[in-house]
């Protein structure tokens, strides 16, 4: 069920209405669980069994790890959990990619037979909920988390529908306590709090969701037209076109994914759950490490906590820490999809981070230089960082190695051919206007802080007008051919 459909709106209104009517906490949880499974079943059908399998596996392994006194047994249990989760993910997501690479290699060494592809359907959200359940068992193994007290609560943590299919990737230590918030009853007894819809959460949640819809349906879907037109066949395009396509795609994917995250965060907030922020004005990052603190925060922090640090992080030798960075970024690229272009994207970011580390090692005081504290210094840092970030979006978006090489060469080496500037702008008047508007709004939100929260604090009349403007922009300019959420593919 896509967030941008009428079905979801009806589903969500029904969920909050029923949650408000049910007054018993456990029934609320059961209902939310049922709603979440229904939400998943609606778009994934029988693949819901994978979700159930993953939930059962990690619930019981988590409990066993916690009970176990022997480190060896804990390790074995953890390995079973990892093998189960990563095995499923690997099988469904990477089997065909591996077979294809094997067949290509086989052709080089004159193997006559090719292994047939499995052509498996990628279960929606598997990359997200797998990481979520892995973090649960690893945290218990590390002693950072107590296992969930009930299967019901754990299942709700895994399947909670707002974040189920495309994140943010939540952590059990952040979510489970929210299910067991205490209510101070007459100052003597502590009772577990039922889910209730609070005024403030409702208004802020609706505002966040509205902006999420605006980002996705008004901005990203319109801007996508530019990127799709240019990158469907980039060979022969001028530097101007490649730059325009790259900028358009960078803002399309930002609007698309951060829009989805906003809808998820807003929907969860209405139900009384706080999910962590997933994006924080990433195109104003002043360095590559800063970019990864602002882009898909829940994923980058997952990779940091469950891969980079266990690999040794930056506590080992310099060479080892560069290698760790590169490995993590390659795997982050591969997480996005089983294709070489995602690996190239990850590798580019790995190289950026390694170079940044090397520069920091050679010039340890460079980042503290007064120039970088000035306005001009910040602008230059942002522009340099974003030049490389945008460059890396090219392999992420463009299909085919020849097309990627051509597009990158046109991005890097400007051809100064401007004959196509007017025709391409004229043939994409509305998408270009919307792109400029989105960049301007991105800038305003950077300068003015969290203006979504400010809007949610407006009085009801003005709030109504803002929602009206958002709704009119979305529905009256809905192009009838919506793009899927990009991150659904991952």
């Amino acid at each position: 069920m896509l967030f941008t459909t009428i079905e979801f709106i009806i589903f969500f209104i029904l969920v909050i209405t029923i949650i408000s009517i049910i007054k018993y906490r456990k029934f609320q949880h059961f209902f939310l669980l049922f709603a979440s499974y229904f939400f998943f079943y609606f778009s994934s059908n029988y693949l819901v069994t994978l979700l159930i399998f993953s939930t059962i596996l990690d619930y019981y392994i988590g409990k066993e790890i916690w009970k176990s006194k022997s480190l060896r047994r804990k390790k074995i249990l953890l390995i079973i959990s990892l093998a189960g989760n990563l095995g499923l993910l690997g099988f469904f997501k990477y089997s065909d990619f591996a077979i294809l690479q094997f067949n290509i290699l086989g052709n080089y060494i004159n193997l006559t037979e090719n292994i047939p592809l499995l052509n498996l359907v990628l279960p929606i959200g598997i990359s997200f909920y797998t990481f979520q359940t892995i973090s649960y068992t690893v945290d218990i193994y590390r002693g950072h988390l107590e296992p969930s007290k009930t299967f019901r609560e754990f299942a709700l943590f895994v399947t909670f529908f707002p974040q189920l299919v495309a994140g943010p990737i939540i952590r059990a230590k952040d979510f489970l306590p929210q299910l067991r918030d205490k209510l101070d009853n007459f100052g003597t007894r502590k009772r577990l709090c039922q889910i209730s819809i609070h005024d403030k959460n409702l208004k802020l949640g609706i505002t966040i969701m509205a902006f999420g819809f605006l980002k996705k349906m008004f901005f990203a879907d319109h801007i996508a037209i530019i990127a799709n037109d240019i990158f469907s066949n980039p060979i022969g395009a001028t530097s101007f076109e490649i730059w325009l396509g790259t900028i358009a795609f960078a803002f399309q994917i930002y609007g698309d994914f951060s829009g989805y995250s906003d809808i998820a965060i807003g929907a969860a907030l209405i139900l009384g759950f706080k999910l962590s922020m997933n994006f924080n004005k990433p195109y104003f990052a002043t360095s590559f490490s800063d970019f990864w603190k602002r882009w898909h925060i829940s994923l980058s922090s997952w990779f940091r906590d469950y891969l980079y640090i266990p690999l040794g992080g930056n506590k080992k030798s310099a060479i080892r820490s560069y290698g760790n960075l590169f490995t993590v970024m390659i795997l982050a690229g591969l997480w996005h999809g089983a294709a070489w272009n995602f690996i190239i994207w990850g590798a580019l970011h790995g190289i950026y981070l390694m170079i940044l580390k090397i520069i920091e090692k050679i010039f340890p005081r460079l980042s503290q230089h007064f120039f970088f504290k000035t306005r001009n210094g910040k602008i230059i840092s942002i522009l340099v960082t974003q030049y490389f970030v945008f460059l890396a979006w090219i392999p992420f978006r463009v299909q085919g190695i020849d097309e990627i090489i051509y597009s990158i060469s046109k991005f890097v080496i400007i051809d100064f051919q401007f004959s196509e500037v007017i025709p391409i702008l004229m043939s994409h008047k509305i998408p270009v206007f919307i792109l400029i508007l989105f960049i301007a709004l991105h800038f305003i939100s950077y300068r003015k802080g969290n203006f979504v929260e400010k809007i949610s604090k407006l009085n009801l009349k003005i709030w109504f007008v803002v929602l009206m403007i958002i709704s009119l922009s979305i529905i009256l300019f809905y192009n009838g051919n919506p793009e899927d959420f990009i991150y659904f593919r991952f």
Binding site: I13, L202, A210, P423, S427, M468, I475, F477, Y478, G480
Partner: protein
């Protein structure tokens, strides 16, 4: 109570927005039905076009985009002045062979004697946003077209609506519907000065985005299907203004000509070329549309001659 008010506001917003959408659609009905003006063509409200009895006379169809709609069939009928022959112009805005293929069965079941298909460069190289129009099939005409089209593209509707604000176009009231041109609605039109064409971006944008192979394959299918149902096919190229012609490169012209000669050889169809014939005359409403102003007769005379020749009148 406050919760109730807060919850009520987004619901109210959704209701108002959809009501406005419906209001705009009613206000600007005909604009959104590009290629589907048929639904509002008063001549076909009771009996949809394809449900008419075409067996009473020799039936001839003209097919193509708005460039073909520039031919005034009433005038053509008058010029032919033969009561035993009925000519219908089935042109629709934004037609391409790959879209027209959807209507193939309806056309064949009407059993026309000859089909004249008007094509041009842009039918094989289209800007991305032209694919928003469609040609209605009889199934769509008879089914609930609200579901088929109304809700599907509010953006298109809004763009037309916004465009009409500030213009003297009175929308539905200013349209003319003709009985022999079921799928096209005519606006009153003046003959503009040539200088206006230079501002018109359609000259420059058309070459960039296309699905050439699909359209070539579709026109092959269309001709072959008609011929296998004993319907004679004649191809003609639609007229273009000299500014438009200048924007087409030699290689593109060569490619287009090659495609025409391939069709001619493969299917033994006659090709009439009008694309350069009127390029320097002051009879244009846009660089690729001859004005259908009643004072402009030259194009209609040529269409009439072509029909007379091919139908052996």
């Amino acid at each position: 109570m406050s919760n109730f008010k807060i919850a009520l506001i987004p619901i109210l917003v959704i209701i108002i927005t959809f009501s406005l959408l419906g209001f705009f659609q009613i206000l600007d009905l005909e604009s959104q039905l590009i290629g589907g003006g048929h639904m509002l063509n008063p001549h076909f409200i009771e009996t949809p076009f394809f449900e008419n009895d075409f067996s009473k006379s020799r039936t001839i169809f003209l097919l193509g985009s708005s460039q073909v709609a520039s031919s005034n069939v009433t005038q053509v009928n008058d010029l032919i002045s033969n009561k035993n022959i009925s000519i219908y112009n089935l042109a629709t805005s934004g037609d391409t062979p790959s879209k027209r293929i959807d209507q193939l069965n309806d056309i064949i079941s009407s059993n026309p004697e000859i089909v004249f298909y008007g094509i041009s460069y842009r039918d094989f190289k289209f800007p991305y946003n032209y694919n928003i129009s469609y040609i209605p099939t009889s199934e769509q005409i008879n089914s609930c077209f609200l579901e088929e089209y109304f809700i599907s593209n509010p953006e298109l509707l809004m763009r037309y609506f916004l465009k009409s604000i500030g213009s003297k176009d009175l929308g539905i009231l200013s349209k003319t519907y003709m009985k022999n041109t079921p799928f096209y609605d005519y606006k009153p039109v003046l003959i503009p000065n040539d200088s206006k064409f230079i501002q018109n971006d359609s000259v420059k944008t058309w070459v960039k985005h296309c699905n050439m192979h699909e359209n070539i394959s579709s026109i092959n299918t269309i001709i072959s299907e008609f011929q296998s149902n004993n319907i004679k096919v004649v191809i003609f190229t639609t007229p273009l203004h000299e500014l438009y012609l200048k924007s087409i490169s030699d290689s593109q012209k060569e490619q287009f000509d090659k495609m025409l000669s391939n069709l001619s050889v493969k299917y033994n169809v006659e090709i009439y070329k009008f694309e350069e014939k009127y390029s320097e005359l002051n009879i244009w409403q846009s660089p690729d549309h001859i004005s259908y102003h009643k004072s402009i007769t030259k194009y209609n005379e040529d269409i009439a001659s072509m029909i007379i020749k091919e139908s052996e009148l």
